[in-house]
Symmetry: C2
């Protein structure tokens, strides 16, 4: 057993029910007998859906299934299994997703087009979706609202803690609720794939609007985190909106430009960021949560590319693990990013203390002060390129021997 | 003390003298007292030079010096110091290179424009080039041919073994000789920067021709290796040709298209590859030498990008460290490279055994056979994308806890 990450939250928030969403978890024996390995979420009629997926050119079968069904914009059920990622499984993989959807549709009285699917676990093993037969029917009867923490636990693989978040927002004078769960520790854990996240809300928002909000929201959250630079074949983020708040007077939103969305958008963005941070804080072997801010870049894209170059540098990550404010490695990572940089305009801060500026070590900085800051669990690094107005922030964790042990010590 | 890499060569070749090149090493007290930290190589009049440098946007002062002087194509001396990389040192860095060149020029009777400089060591500390005063004069008197192994040892930092290679070639009926040295273990070792390599030959080849040969030669060698994806601010590769073989009848070559270059080009390419492989085999914490070949890509550029994506994947590298033929992680790395890939056409080999094809695990493969191959120190991985004729091979090493220890354990 791996110990719980030292960066885990000290407590979980009370997770409110979302009207129109019910959860059930069970055991289908996908990889192990009598282990919880399937989550069923049921949605009331009228639920809208949006999704964002891995950029991998070799996506898993469930990712291809969800992408194809997203155009309909409607969802009645979500089936998530662990134990098998159904990735790199060829035509058999597509057949397994079709069978899963068929079984879930039969159990819930929906159309297969309205069934969304995510799988996490072993890559390259055929998934025997026949094992869901009977199980999904049983779960559809058992499903109850409010079991979202159980749902979060059911989708864990190498995660050391379940990841949940909740928020409320004002939508045209009515309070709507958003809840979300996520899993993911490395981009791929040993033989395991996937960062998964599912968000649920009662807000009555049309599917294309949800898609716009989600597409924008992931840029500064899930698309701004990295554990080890390795992108899963299965990354899936789905947002389900039951619309049940309309019964309480919430307005139906059909346009992304609708000003009444302001509060919802802010709450959704904050919730996505919260979940994304939790994924980093459960990064394999993580002991430090690192926030990297790049300012003064030629443009936003350059800023993000440089920030990710720093975040993905093994030498920067091992330096933080060693509690060393090694700004020379930050310069290296800026230099290798391929974006415009002027060595003699660079300034670098560790934990708010400027350690380098104008291409030189800052003669004023106090090493003892910086050393103390590096011993904190949260390490902010800031780089100002002094070139333009491009800025970006990304988050990562340190690189420790525990990461190697989790991913390389098959014999221990 | 770090143990010598298990991938180190069992013996060093006899390194022949290059007519027109003399070496001396000494102690200038750059960082530590009475430690060999400076190498002086002297070249006879008429020596031509070519060079290739880091692609970093934040290069060191010596890299900028060499780039600016390369246009002249003439070299009389090379000064290499360890202990201080003279990187991220602002204007003081440029002044230090100018002073170094001035002192070396005075000691050797050359022009400062004919002095080439490389530095390796701490980043961000001003280099006191005044310490070379007297030392370079002494070394220029002491310099003798044939001390190339000493030269290779003098430029080591965290390297666990000196890196040397030699070759001969036929040039218009006359045998010419090439020798080379290199240093580098991580792209940046703790507080240390730099992959350096220096090649020497007696072949009478014009500077622009040398530049063409070197530019082509690095593509398949030094630009096809990676230890940790981190690019140094100081990477420097210089090729010096004394031309003294002309006295023995070797033809002077002024055109890169000259057919008489064929043998020289092949010998140079092989020597560059040999040295590049040695750098990987001394990669920090390396226990495995990994050769990654990508075939069937849309084009050569795509093949190389995919190969480097695999080579730089922490999950692939830890899997090899764990002696696990984890082809799922190879699929992941292919998918994240951003180049065209078709999951259902992918085939993957570990150590010559096909483990996956047509988007599926190969049912025929023998796990025991593959497990045995994974225990070898040399692990070849091949991917066929089945799309086109693009092919590339790159080399890397595994990622072990020792890498983390070298780069992160400041307290041990």
């Amino acid at each position: 057993m791996t110990a719980i990450s030292p960066l885990a939250p000290v407590s979980f928030p009370d997770m409110p029910e979302i009207d129109g969403v019910r959860f059930a978890t069970g055991a289908a024996g996908i990889r192990y007998k009598e282990r919880t390995d399937v989550l069923l979420a049921l949605f009331d009629k009228g639920t809208k859906v949006a999704g964002v997926f891995t950029t991998s050119k070799c996506p898993s079968a469930p990712v291809e299934w969800c992408r194809a069904k997203l155009g309909g914009g409607k969802a009645r059920a979500l089936v998530v299994n662990s134990g098998n990622a159904n990735a790199f499984t060829g035509k058999a993989g597509a057949e397994a997703t079709a069978l899963t959807a068929k079984l879930a549709a039969a159990a819930t009285g929906a159309s297969p087009r309205e069934i969304f699917i995510a799988s996490t676990g072993v890559i390259g093993e055929p998934l025997d979706a026949g094992k869901f037969e009977g199980v999904l029917e049983k779960l559809s009867v058992e499903a109850t609202p409010g079991r979202i923490l159980d749902a979060a636990k059911a989708i864990m693989t190498t995660d050391t803690f379940p990841k949940v978040a909740t928020a409320t927002a004002d939508l045209g004078g009515v309070t709507v609720t958003i809840t979300g769960i996520a899993k993911g520790a490395g981009m791929i854990a040993p033989d395991m794939a996937t960062m998964l996240s599912f968000i649920f809300t009662d807000a009555p928002i049309a599917a294309p609007v949800l898609q716009t909000l989600l597409g924008k929201g992931v840029k500064g959250s899930f698309n701004s985190i990295t554990v080890d630079s390795d992108t899963s074949t299965s990354d899936t983020l789905l947002l389900f909106a039951t619309g049940t708040a309309a019964k309480r007077g919430a307005p139906k939103i059909d346009r992304a430009q609708d000003r009444r969305l302001k509060g919802f958008k802010a709450a959704l963005d904050a919730l996505l960021l919260d979940l994304a941070h939790q994924v980093v804080k459960d990064g394999e072997g993580a002991r430090k949560f690192i926030e990297i801010t790049v300012e003064g870049a030629a443009n936003t894209k350059a800023a993000k590319r440089i920030a990710l170059s720093i975040a993905n540098s093994p030498l920067v990550k091992t330096a933080v693990a060693g509690e060393d404010a090694n700004w020379g490695r930050v310069v290296m990572a800026v230099g290798k990013a391929g974006e415009k940089a002027d060595r003699d305009r660079l300034a670098i801060w560790f934990g708010g203390v400027r350690v380098a500026h104008k291409g030189l070590r800052d003669p004023a900085y106090d090493e003892a002060q910086v050393s103390a800051l590096m011993r904190e669990p949260h390490v902010p690094i800031k780089v100002d390129l002094g070139l333009g107005k491009g800025a970006a922030t990304v988050w990562t964790c340190d690189l420790t021997k525990e990461y190697i042990a989790i991913n390389g010590d098959y014999r221990s």
